[in-house]
């Protein structure tokens, strides 16, 4: 089985690892980089639960190989404060607080990927109208909330 050495910065920490070339980035992050907050729900790129930021671009971790992240920086839910541009270690970010306030999560399984993607979305589009928010959410499945509270939570934090 072919393996490669990779160097990845995960949530600010530099890691080196030897990985099988077929290892999915989602599995690498969960199993070798300690990113338990990254959730795999569909494994074929539809649901958005495993969304992470790879070199500043939001991507599905289940649709990349770990070797493709060689030399890159990956940000998961643990980097949400940085993605929102606020101080780390200061409790919940504004987006997290809004999700809590509006009861925008129930089982919470889809939540980390949704938060990562939403933080990145709002960074590029700070005052989205409802249509933009819905377009953004098209890439995310949630089976619990009925979505209305997710939309409300995002609307409440836009600039």
């Amino acid at each position: 089985m072919q393996c490669l050495d990779i160097r990845v910065i995960v949530d600010g920490k530099a890691l080196t690892a030897t990985v099988p070339v077929r290892l999915l980035l989602s599995d690498f992050l969960r199993e070798q980089a300690g990113c338990g907050g990254l959730h795999v729900a569909c494994g074929h790129g539809v649901c958005g639960a495993c969304t992470v930021v790879l070199d500043d671009v939001p991507v599905r971790a289940c649709l990349l190989l770990a070797v493709q992240a060689d030399g890159a920086a990956v940000q998961t839910i643990a980097s949400l404060p940085q993605l929102e541009g606020c101080e780390p270690e200061r409790g919940l970010t504004p987006l997290q607080q809004s999700f809590r306030r509006y009861h925008a999560l129930q089982c919470g399984y889809c939540t980390p990927g949704l938060l990562v993607a939403t933080a990145k979305f709002l960074a590029g589009c700070p005052s989205p109208d409802r249509a933009r928010i819905l377009e953004h959410l098209n890439g995310h499945l949630c089976r619990c909330s009925g979505y209305a509270n997710i939309i409300a939570a995002i609307e409440a934090v836009r600039a």
């Binding site: 959730h39 729900a41 649901c47 098209n138 089976r143 979505y147 997710i150």
Partner: protein, 772 residues
Amino acid sequence: MNTAAPFGERARRREDGPLLTGKGVFLADLIRPGMAALRVVRSTRAHARITHIDFSAVANDPHCLGVLSAATLPEGMGRLPAIDLVEGSLPAHHDILAREVVRYVGEPVAAVIAADAYLAEDLAARVAVGYDSLPPVLNVGEGIRADAPLLYPQFASNVVHQTIQRVGDPEAAFARADLLIEETFHFQRVCASAMEPRGALATLEPGTGRSLVYSSTQIPQILRRELARLTGIPVERLRVIAPQVGGGFGVKEAVYAEEVLVLLALQRFGRPTYWLEDRQESFLASSQGREETLRVRAAVTAAGEVTAVDADCLADIGAAYLFLSNTPGAAVASLRGPYRIANFSSRARSVVTNKTPLNVYRGAGCPQTTLAMERMMDLAAQALGLDRAEIRRRNLIGPDAFPLDRGVSYPGCGRVIFDSGNFPALLESTLEAIDYHGFPARRAAAGERTLGLGLSFVVEMSGGGGAEPAGIRVLPEGRLQLLSGITPIGQGSATTLAQILAGHLGLPLTAIEVLTADTDQSPDAPGTFASRGATLGGNAACLAGDLLIREARQLAATLYELPLEDIRWQNGELIGRAGVPEPLSLAGLITKAQEHGIDALRRLQVSGRYERDAVSWTSACHAAIVDLERDTGIIRVLDYAVTHDCGRIANPLLVDGQIMGGVLQGLGQCLFEAQRFDERGVPLTQGFMDYVLPTAATAPRFILRHIETPSPLNPLGMKGAGEAGCSGAVGAIANAIADALGPQVPFLNGSGPFTPECVLAMLRRRGGHHEA
């Protein structure tokens, strides 16, 4: 009374912190280095005799840590349990691993164990299974034919279960009716699709050497009992824990083969072993929902009174029982919903077919009966020229009729006795919320858009399952741990139960920690299903709270040498009648007891069981407004109003979340979702590209209202809130679509799904124009 988030407040959830920061511990987060992965070899045939299972390609592979097949299972091992077997049900139980015959694509045939999931999948692909195909049964119509192939030849029929109900004299009512309506409703198979797939892990507990099984399940206690039965491990040598569960909806309310297999692998090969379902497997081997054919006849007077209903249900339960497979069909007992309808008869049969087993899915049969009954009301109104709200008004059970014995029984839950409600008030509230009277004008003003409005009542059972335990432990600083048998699956039960207990004891919310889903803490509990969590868990918590108060008073009485009746519990504190003792907190009591050398923590540890497990009936009136795009066939749900009555509400924020989430699942069923099979019985949808789920863009604007008629059956006056949103939605949306299409279009009765293709096909059948 300390009122920091007591009963009734929109308290934000204590669960949210870890979930929002990615620190929630789900099943997959428990995997540790050195644990082995199990992969199931699944049947690729819908119906076949197994000729051989050949492990030779993997047996000597150094990556292969073990294999399992029916031949290597322990001698005499039983089969998976089913808990809703009525008298006369035939024992169509599910094998742990298929013995001689496979009966659906995806059925577990063998298992391989390897160091990781990649290697296990490599090995599983090399296990050669030989099949001799048998003719498959793929729908109930085929299944009940006299010459149908039999899934279980020993039964001589594919009908494995039948329930018959009868109230009054339906034949006489039909004979006298001014109007007879008969319709047949088809409900497609759907997949609940919890975002977290299933998973299980078996390991040895350090220290005790007990077998410790983690599973993403709604029923850890029942799982423990069944694992003990199946493996022969004494129940006290087994501990089962459900970690954070990423959605349940009934899919995780079963004992599955994989949960048994990881434990067998641990026993047999000595390696802690896990199994994580992938999404493709969840479409093949997780329980599915809803599929049935329901024929309904109604007798109606010229004045619009429905005097009798007769129903015949054929439920397609798939290849074998999976825990509650008969319940969805048997739920036809509650077909009449909120309407008086004095005469009723029904027959419900469960038919085995070569498809994935059916089980309860959010609503458990109620979505089907709701849709059917509510369509019948609209059809009767149409036939009589009556307003749709008016015909409902004329048939609703009045607010003074409770308790009301409906004369039927609900399998496993006894007689159907409506405990409380105010159906007319629900109707009027919802009509106002959706602006029913303004709707004709809105429709006329819609221009190119075609709007439709649909109404639906739902009356849904909640609770049941048996006595609910609760325990309380007091910590040295006076904080409490509530040990609850309610497994959290996203419903926020830790928050709700803490609110209930805090309110009951007069303590701040922060004084209460809630521990759940661990058989060491609650060894014997029913679990989370049937919208029972808040009501049963809450009342059990209060019962335990009362026990704690009694113990605390007794302890104080002992310490202060006072008669028990001189010590009261008030606002979270003990107070003596004559000012002695001065208000004393639990922490104070503990300190005082320590001074006397008394182990207060042990004295104050209490547990009890809430035995009054009476089923309460949640009701709601839903209204949907849909937009039909006539040239594309696209249906969009614009507005959605619900007036909901789940008795007293512990946390309106969370109840609203349950309703909206439920409505979206009903919407998904009506508009998008269907699991279909090809002519060989191979599932056509095995992922989210084929199985279309609702997204945020499909969510309607919600208007939610509540009416609280307390249930007299439990001290808190609560009823369940988990499922009625889903059950009501299919009725309201189907009626709204039919309304948009207009009476000239032959409506496909059932829950569709009303895809654009289906809608244009209906419009075409009218042969009319479809110009926007």
